[in-house]
Amino acid sequence: MLRNYIKIAFKVMLRQKFFTGVSLFGISFTIMIFSITTVIFDLGYGDNAPAVNRSRTLYLDGISMESPTVPYARVNIGDDFYKKLRDSRDVENICIYKAGNIRSFKNGKVIIFNVSYTDEELWHIYNYTFLEGRPYNKRDIITGKRYAVISESTKKYYFGNGSAIGKYIGDEKKFQIIGVVKNKVILYANGPEVANILIPYSISTTSYASSNPAIILAKSNKVIPDIKDELVRMTKRIDQYKSLKDIRIRLSGGTVFEMRDFGYAILGLSIFLFFIVVIPALNLIGLNVNRISERSSEIGIRKAFGASSSVLAGQFIIENIIITFIGGILGVILTFVVSSALVRMIFYNSPESADGVYSALISWKSVLYSILSALFFGLVSGVIPAWRMSRLHAIKALKGGSAS
């Protein structure tokens, strides 16, 4: 029976070329928008490599304090502070880092690279894929090695093809490359993942006694408020603040959800996606009603020979899902093309843009979203016309009547 339905679906698609064209365009375009939006959202909030633990990570940019006697000050939080925090039962790991940049030259041109100076815990909290070489370790940090781990695109841009291991990057005080990590499309970076180059923090020119940002990995996202409370308590216990009355501590940063107004984002995105899918679906319902109406004689024939209304409704839904599935595949192709262009636009002024090695927004997730949304689209736009037409009276249908 399914073979018969598929055969009919293709025949109808070929017979009604205009309808098919309009439908496929609408479906594939909708799916492309749906897919890109959900992938952007996922990249912003989801646990994606290298930031695989984002949902239980607290991004601490700094701590500030205020009291009636001390108007405002940034709190100095250094290694010792984080060492104490590490003992908290809610904390799984902490990576201290500092952002900066280094200059380098290529063909007489100055290139500025984003750099993150980090400790070795970075490799435990994040999940980088090493294309070659290795990460720096605790010993490298203690001994102050001038090592660098660079991104894939940085390597291609600066060194071209071939291995970069053992080569140097930087101007006067160069860094030796010991590792190359795979690129990821990072639309919203919160920590060191934004950097093109990762360097042991012990050789940062900035003092680490001052206020350092950190990524704090909680044992679960539920205990993040407890960690914040602990940070406030620890700050109040710092010698210089102990005696202050009415002290107010403010943490800057937070979880990705807090920093990006997740609630509003979810609501906004949901409304957007709802309209993105439902409005074309409503249009398609209208088109489908017309398309199926033209086949009322077929409905009558099938009813006369034993098809029940539910079987007929199933047939039309399957046909619709077939067409939306084809639209889904076209949508995936369209998503790939448009998202690749988008990625290039987003990174158009970064030094790596020239070599175009970015992985596009397309991923197994976007393919999955596309297919799922195509099926959803097929169901939404197919059920009502199918149900309506399947109820058509057999005699009326044989005479070419329309649904009443």
Binding site: K7, I301, K303, A304, F305, G306
Partner: protein, 222 residues
């Protein structure tokens, strides 16, 4: 085989009430070939639609194989149409997007437990009975009127129904082709014992059947 007891069919609109069938009592025996004649609008097709379970009577009872068909749900009616009845229409009603073979297979699609290969075998056998087994891959628009009607007959008999309902099966055909179609139906009635109810305007064709029922203004007049 088919029994209509006091069957009435009234079409009502807000201002008009049309009696299509008026207290009709008919008993058709198993294996009979009955033709129904009468002027246009006398209720012949309504009668055929009610026997074919495509329409419901306003009142009265219809029995098929001694089973009263009243208050049956859509699924049950669909099942009965599929198992017991076969339809032949004046304008063939073939699905233009499907090949001859696929058209003939349609009734078997809705029958449980019939595999694709069995469907194909039965469809080919039905086409052989109507002498059209050389045109299985053709599409309806590639066939003549007579050939189309033979495909329609093959589709009607493929599920081996007990009753064939033919609504002016020769009405769109010339006399030679009409004769061919009539002969196929007569042969089916004779060799397979299929009960046939045929609506026709053609006295000559009606004369070939065992019994003639005449209708006028919704009433049986003989």
């Amino acid at each position: 085989m088919i029994k209509l007891i006091n069957v009435e069919k009234i079409y009502r609109t807000s201002s008009i009430e049309t009696v299509a069938l008026n207290k009709v009592n008919i008993n058709i025996q198993k294996g009979e070939f009955v033709s129904v004649m009468g002027p246009s609008g006398c209720g012949k097709s309504t009668l055929l639609n009610i026997i074919g379970l495509l329409d419901e009577p306003t009142s009265g009872t219809i029995e098929i194989a001694d089973t009263p068909i009243t208050g049956y749900a859509d699924k049950k009616l669909a099942y009965l149409r599929n198992e017991k009845l076969g339809f032949i229409f004046q304008s063939y009603h073939l699905i233009s997007d499907l090949s001859v073979l696929d058209n003939v297979e349609i009734p078997l699609l809705y029958r449980k437990g019939v595999s694709g290969s069995v469907r194909r075998k039965l469809a080919l056998e039905a086409l052989e009975k109507v002498g059209l087994n050389s045109r299985t891959k053709h599409f309806p628009n590639q066939l003549s009127g007579g050939q189309r009607q033979r495909v329609a007959i093959a589709r009607a008999i493929v599920g081996n129904p007990e009753v064939l309902l033919a609504d002016e099966p020769t009405g769109n055909l010339d006399s030679v082709m009409g004769e061919e179609i009539m002969n196929i139906m007569l042969n089916l009635n004779k060799t397979e014992g299929t009960t046939i109810v045929m609506v026709t305007h053609d006295e000559y064709m009606a004369g070939k059947t065992e019994r003639l029922i005449r209708f006028f203004d919704g009433r049986q007049v003989n």
